[in-house]
């Protein structure tokens, strides 16, 4: 017996690529109705209808191994349903025979038709199966089933059918167009069907009366499982990420004029659409599709509250009219309007996924064009990841996306540079210790990873990257042997990257970060803490026919070996460098061509202190403006600023909104437009946080990038 079904089931496995069944026992079975299909080769057919049980032919290992995952699951599920444990569990089914809305039943009331969610399939397998509508990103198959009955009142005219499809187009088109970054694309299966069931025919409920014969017309078993089979077949046949279906009926009694199940698989809609009318089908179908993809209702009488865990990220229903401030904001899940609140966007699965990395760690950021930000990090599992922002994004940031499967040490530096507008080049030391790069170009997307040369680096080491002019790339790092190296690329290098070359015999602790800056077109200046703890610099420009010049030591200050030095050019040919010395003082030094005596400094910035070697990051948001960031001795984020008008020197330190991070963390900073600042740090919980500043506004943030 297969569970407690009142009919016999027969397993049929077809030969690979052949029409004939391998296991059809007899001619009678060969013509039996197919109840379920799993992939192309496995079927469960209807046997005797006056009893239960299953007929299961012996299957060789060879046959089993030739089946797809779906096909094999079908076989295994039926086998499971014939086991003693399974039969015993069904014989003592909890609350057998009771009504779904019985008293003391814990959980939300089931919508009509939910009863058959208790399908007699193997619970473990069912639970493990991926959902058909987990979140609204990517391709979605949608079956539009227009059910025509035997009477005039239950039939759609040709004009009404057209109207229904047009309304669905409008509603789903709005959903698809709302967030271009979600890449939503609907694939339609439009199926007008005709059934003979009278609207007053006896039935278990007001849905199964017309639904079961309708799915039968579609070629599936005439019950709730047939709906699932239809939806799954849509996903398989139309090759989409997700699938669901919408039934439209006219003139049949319904328990409610429109409803859906959270998570799918189906929406039911009455053509009349209650008082809203057919011209609002677009809004109602979009609303119901929100439920399909995990969104809760937000209008007051739904009984919503601002708690709960909804949608892809399990976030609360914070726009619920019963508890949100000012009764919430405009939103399709609350009212009849084309608007979508931020909680609904999150419930649909848009925006940042969760990401955690180790501490301390660095994230790296680039602005590839005005107001665009791209952030890169290596998570605690060693996966390279990226997220992106631009003002038009409807869900704040989008990401985190796995970056082409790139793997590195957890928390490793993933550095980035933009060599021309909207181009990105990314660098990381892979798990084999070699340097790798990948690239993003408009119209091409991400490509890579490609290995750069044969040099070996300590895992997690930083590869400093710079574009000294359009389409030129220069990278810098200290290899496992302590050699300070550089490599270069430009389009004319048809044989790929050139290098690695050691810069003037330079040596540092293996993996020591090498900071690079271009103070004017095609000029390069690099900085590194040498093996004696001194800050050293070297320079290159095209006029140096003998290659790199240097190394020169900047002052007599000592830094911990391997410490990161921040460097920036605040205007043409001017250089400022920053670091935390072995005594924990936050220092700066400066150079410009007018300094005939070389570098000036070091000066302590306003008494600033940090952990010895703590990274000091710097950015110039406009000509001759400097902003620096550091994690203080109290693990708190601090900033200071300088500009020529400050006749009293540096201003600060200001506590940057109480942000906290581990010693050694980088506060990565960038200016995406004149005088705007965006900063990023890995917080104490391993999430990336961001904060922002613009003229006339206080610092905003820190905002966590993902749950």
């Amino acid at each position: 017996m297969a569970g407690d079904l009142p009919f016999e089931e027969i397993l049929v496995v077809h030969d690979d690529g052949a029409a004939e069944a391998l296991t059809t026992p007899d001619a009678e079975t060969a013509g039996a109705r197919v109840l379920q299909r799993f992939g192309d080769r496995v079927e469960i057919r209807l046997g005797a209808t006056d009893g239960g049980g299953a007929r299961m032919p012996a299957l060789s290992d060879e046959v089993l191994e030739s089946l797809s995952v779906t096909e094999r699951l079908g076989v295994e599920a039926l086998r499971l349903r014939t086991t003693g444990d399974y039969l015993r569990s069904k014989a003592s089914r909890p609350r057998d025979g009771e009504r779904w809305n019985m008293a003391d039943c814990v959980g939300a009331p089931a919508p009509p038709g939910m009863a058959v969610l208790e399908a007699p399939s193997a619970p473990g397998l069912e639970a493990a199966a991926p959902g058909t509508s987990d979140y609204l990103m990517g391709s979605v198959a949608v079956g539009v089933v227009i059910v025509n009955g035997p009477t005039v009142d239950t039939q759609f005219t040709a004009a009404q059918q057209t109207e229904v499809v047009a309304e669905v187009q409008a509603g789903l088109g709005w959903l698809a167009g709302f967030n271009p970054w979600a890449g939503v694309s609907f694939s339609y299966d439009i199926r007008p069907v005709t059934i003979s069931t009278q609207p007053n025919a006896p039935a278990a409920d007001n849905e199964s009366r017309w639904r079961d014969p309708a799915v039968g017309q579609l070629g599936f078993q005439q019950n709730w499982n047939g709906v699932w089979d239809y939806v799954r077949s849509l996903r398989t046949n139309l090759r989409t990420n997700w699938a669901y279906c919408v039934f439209f009926v006219r003139g049949y009694p319904l328990d409610h004029f429109a409803y859906a199940s959270i998570g799918g698989p189906r929406v039911v809609m009455d053509y009349a659409n209650d008082g809203w009318g057919p011209s609002n089908i677009d809004r109602v179908v979009a609303h119901e599709s929100g439920h399909i993809f995990g969104c809760p209702d937000e209008y007051a009488s739904s009984g919503c509250d601002c708690d709960g865990a909804w949608g892809r990220f399990g976030e609360p229903n914070s726009n619920c009219e019963n508890c949100a401030g000012a009764a919430g904001v405009d939103c399709l899940m609350r009212a009849n309007q084309w608007a979508m609140c931020m909680p609904t966007r999150r419930h649909l699965g848009w925006g940042l996924t969760s990401l955690r990395t180790i501490q301390p760690a660095a994230c790296h950021v680039v602005s590839r064009s005005l107001d665009h930000l791209d952030v890169f990090v290596c998570d605690q599992g060693g996966n390279t990841a990226t997220a992106a922002w631009e003002p038009a994004m409807v869900s704040w940031w989008e990401g985190w996306w796995n970056l082409l499967g790139g793997r590195a040490a957890p928390g490793a530096h993933v550095t980035v540079v933009s060599r021309r507008q909207d181009f990105l080049d990314v660098f990381a030391v892979g798990t084999d210790g070699h340097a790798y790069t990948c690239a993003w170009e408009p119209g091409q997307g991400w490509r890579g990873w490609w290995r750069i040369g044969g040099a070996s680096f300590p895992q997690g080491a930083m590869i400093g990257a710079l574009s000294r002019s359009q389409d030129h790339l220069d990278i810098f790092a200290t290899d496992a042997g302590g050699r300070v190296l550089t490599a270069a690329w430009e389009p004319a290098f048809t044989d790929g990257w050139h290098g690695w070359w050691q810069i003037q015999g330079g040596r540092a602790r293996p993996g020591a970060p090498v900071t690079a800056v271009s103070r004017s077109a095609d000029k390069l200046d690099v900085f590194v803490v040498g093996t004696d703890g001194g800050c050293y610099t070297a320079a290159w420009e095209p006029a140096f026919t003998d290659g790199w010049h240097g190394w020169w030591r900047i002052g007599n200050v000592a830094f911990p070996q391997g410490a990161y030095l921040g460097a920036v050019s605040r205007s043409q040919d001017k250089l400022d460098v920053f670091g935390t010395d072995t005594g924990g003082r936050v220092l700066t030094a400066a150079w410009e061509p007018a300094f005939n005596d070389g570098w000036h400094g070091w000066w302590q910035i306003q008494g600033g202190r940090a952990q010895p070697g703590g990274p000091v990051t710097a950015v110039s948001r406009s000509t001759d403006h400097l902003d620096v960031f550091v994690i203080g001795t109290d693990n708190t984020t601090y900033t200071a600023a300088w500009e020529p008008a400050f006749t009293d020197g540096w201003h600060g330190w200001w506590n940057l909104n109480g942000g906290r991070a581990a010693h050694g963390s980088f506060i990565t900073c960038i200016s995406r437009r004149l005088d705007f600042l965006d900063v990023f740090v890995v917080g104490l919980d391993g999430r990336v946080y961001t904060a922002a500043w613009s003229p006339g506004q206080p610092w905003g943030g820190w905002w966590p990038m993902g749950k």
């Binding site: 809305n101 009331p109 919508p111 009509p112 059918q161 057209t162 229904v164 499809v165 047009a166 187009q169 409008a170 789903l172 088109g173 709005w174 698809a176 167009g177 709302f178 271009p180 890449g183 939503v184 694309s185 609907f186 694939s187 339609y188 299966d189 439009i190 199926r191 007008p192 139309l238 328990d255 409610h256 429109a258 409803y259 859906a260 209650d274 008082g275 809203w276 009318g277 011209s279 609002n280 609303h287 119901e288 439920h291 209702d297 209008y299 007051a300 009488s301 739904s302 009984g303 009219e321 405009d330 609350r334 009212a335 009849n336 309007q337 084309w338 608007a339 979508m340 038009a392 409807v394």
Partner: protein, 122 residues
Amino acid sequence: MPVVGCRGEPVAPEEVLVVGDGPEGEPSRWPVVARVPPHVAVLRASPEELADIARHVRLAMTRLPNGDVEMLGDRGALDELDEGARLYVRAWRERPLEKPDRPGEGLAWDHPGFQPPDRPPE
């Protein structure tokens, strides 16, 4: 960017419906917002791009602001579609671009006089 905005009706026909592949292959430059496999797709594109898209497909059409349909290509492609795809194309061509008299515009789903979608809790 789609013209279908965050608020208001989807006012502008910033879509091009295409039927069948043409000699220059699939028009991959434009995002696909809907498909009716195997022959029909709706691209996010402006009407000005109709001629460019039409080079890649058998038939391309767009809605003009006045609701009219402009077509380029082989209209016979429509006759080869199955019933569902024909219905989709007909609905796309006839879909109202504006709904100035939409009942209950902007009202909460449980506004007095209306039933909300989804059965309210008992």
